[in-house]
Every structure is written in structure tokens, then in C-alpha cells.
Symmetry: C5
Subunit: 89 residues, 5 copies
Amino acid sequence: MITGRVIGEITATIRHPFFEGKKMLVVARTGADGAETGDYVVAIDAVGVGPGDPVLVLDEGNGARQVVGSATAPVRSVVVGFLDRVDLA
Amino acid sequence: MITGRVIGEITATIRHPFFEGKKMLVVARTGADGAETGDYVVAIDAVGVGPGDPVLVLDEGNGARQVVGSATAPVRSVVVGFLDRVDLA
Amino acid sequence: MITGRVIGEITATIRHPFFEGKKMLVVARTGADGAETGDYVVAIDAVGVGPGDPVLVLDEGNGARQVVGSATAPVRSVVVGFLDRVDLA
Amino acid sequence: MITGRVIGEITATIRHPFFEGKKMLVVARTGADGAETGDYVVAIDAVGVGPGDPVLVLDEGNGARQVVGSATAPVRSVVVGFLDRVDLA
Amino acid sequence: MITGRVIGEITATIRHPFFEGKKMLVVARTGADGAETGDYVVAIDAVGVGPGDPVLVLDEGNGARQVVGSATAPVRSVVVGFLDRVDLA
């Protein structure tokens, strides 16, 4: 899993029925210190987050399908949690 | 998923029957700001897009096979949607 | 598998029941020489390690699900061992 | 999938029966413009190509196993096609 | 698959029974020219190699599990062969 921050939302025309009503977020990846790394990912929202929110993203197909409750969903990245706190030692 | 822009098409001699009649696109990866990152991917077209179109690419084998409707397709990357809009916060 | 060092812990609000009671660690990746590479990963703890501990991380979904004993866990990275020693030739 | 050029062949002593009689190619990855990127991959030949040939490589385990016709083959990368032409827009 | 050179061995305390008696190698990745790239991976030994040996590593979970003969092994990288020769064109 990786940490990130929601920086936007994507609107796309997709024929596959899985995506109907799904929110697709642009998530900037963040390092352990919370700073953006310059990399980003498009992830399905499974939590109800919005712009600016720090999040936890699962970037693996089979696990992502478990989170969205569909064994056949064409998805790889999904926002699985709101990131409350990072405690660095 | 990643965002990109179709920059070309590939013609290849492939023995596997899955590829018959399939369009193989060269997709330049784009960042959250729409600029090309310099990376690219060869993806099967599942939407009907062409050169210059901004697209959404699923880059995961099992999900890609769901999109093309074949549990045995030797495919990893597939264009799943036309990218209408990216709203950055 | 990759080697790393636990540098912190994450607290997140996650709806998926798998994560209840699970410790989520921030693991800085380390090179063969033990120095941090600048990359990091968020991994579920399957061993009982803490800040500063050198660890072995499995970064693959299906194997990670075996380690946590759940075929449906939405997980990709898991700390599978405490790294006792690296003997370089 | 990625595009590349065959730059050599590998001879290895492998116990797993799948590799008997298989040709293992060193494929230099090429960019959309056909230039080598500096990265490379070792791929099983499923087409009958040789040094200098431009090729299409599938770099995903389950799809690669479909191409070689074995559900249990320990393989991730396979040359699936001869690259006839890349038309850039 | 990737090519590499064994540069060391790892000793770790792991609870999962799969790892009992398994040798875990530190493998420096090598380029097509045999030079180390600076990247490395921790891989299970399925061949019987040691420090200095040039090797072939399979870096994909499902294929790696086939090589070690266990459908449930929490493993991603495995040394599948001794690299006898690389013939560059």
C-alpha cells in the first residue's frame, strides 16, 4: 500500500458497467514525510474522500477487487482508507 | 489506472488468436497536469479511440482480461475509457 | 522480497474488516548494504516488529494473503520476518 | 505490453522441465521512437525471432502462461509477436 | 525474468513454515553486459547456487510458487537457474 493525497477527480466515458457511479480520483503519491513525490495514480474511491484528503491506496488488482466487492471488476488501484496519522519514529 | 494520450498504432505479426482484429495502440503516459511523462505503454483498444485522444488505461492482467471479455487473453494493458476531463483541486 | 527498516506506524480509518486490529507499518526500503534507498512501503505487520527493526517484506498480493491467512484480504505488502543478518560475499 | 529488440540469447542450467528446448532471449526495451531505453528483459521466445528483430513482449505472468500453453509455467515475460510497424501520429 | 549475481545471504526469523530450511539470497541485478545495475532483490534459492554465481531470477509470484512446488508459498522471487552464458549479437 502507498500513501497519497487526493488532488483531483477524473471524468471518463467508459463502457464497462463496473464504473457506473464510481468516483475516480487523482491521487498524488506522498512520501513517509507527507511530501508529494511527483508520482500519481488514478484510484477508485471506496471510502468517500475528496480533494485534499490524505489517503491510503491499495495498488494490487486482486485485493482491490475484494475491496470493491466484485471478483470481476477491472480495477487495480483503490482508496481503502482515510489517513489519520503517520507517526515516524 | 493511468492516464495517457494515444500517439500511434502498432502492427505486429502475432500467432495468438486473441489478437486477430484487435487494435494495438501506443499510449504516451501523461501526468496529472496532462503533460507527457516520457513513458509509454502498448495497450489493446477496448473503446474505439484514435491518435491524439486522451485515455484511461488499465495496466493489470486479470482486470484487463475482464474488460476484453476473455479469461485467457494474453493481455496486460487495455484502454478502458476516453478521458473527458481532469478536475484538479 | 525486499529488505527494509521500520520507521513509523500509520493510523487510518478503513471500513474493510480485514484491517481491524492490524498494525500498519511504514517501512523504509534498504539496499544490500543496509542503507535506506529513499523509497518506502506501507506494510501489514505479521511478525510483531517495531520502530528501528530491520525487516523482510513480501511485496506480492497472493503471497501476502497466504501470510495473513486470508484468501480475501485486500493486502499487497506484509512484513514476514525480522532480518537477523545480511552476509555479503 | 512493451516493444523491444532482440539483442542476444541466454544459456542457463535450469532444473524446471518447462525450460527444456525453450529459447531465452535478451530483449532491449525500445521507446515509441524505436530507440533503446537502456532497460532490458529476459523473455521466452514464442514466435521464432532472432538477434536484431523488433518484437512485442508481454510482461505479465498469467497472460504469458496462456501464450506458452501451460498453466503452470514459471514464466513472466514472453515474446508474443514480431513488430512489423509502429505508426506514430 | 532478470539476470543477476549472488552477492550474499540473508538470515531472518520468519514464522511462516515455508521458509524453514530455505536459503535466501541477496542477488544484485545485472544488465545485458553483466555489470551490476545497483538494484537488487532477495530471492529463494531453487538451484543450489552461492556467492559470486551468475543467476537467472524469476520475479513473479504465481510462477515462483510453481518452481518451489507450493501453491501457497509466500514468495515472489526465486533463483531458477545458473546463468551459463549470455551471447550478445
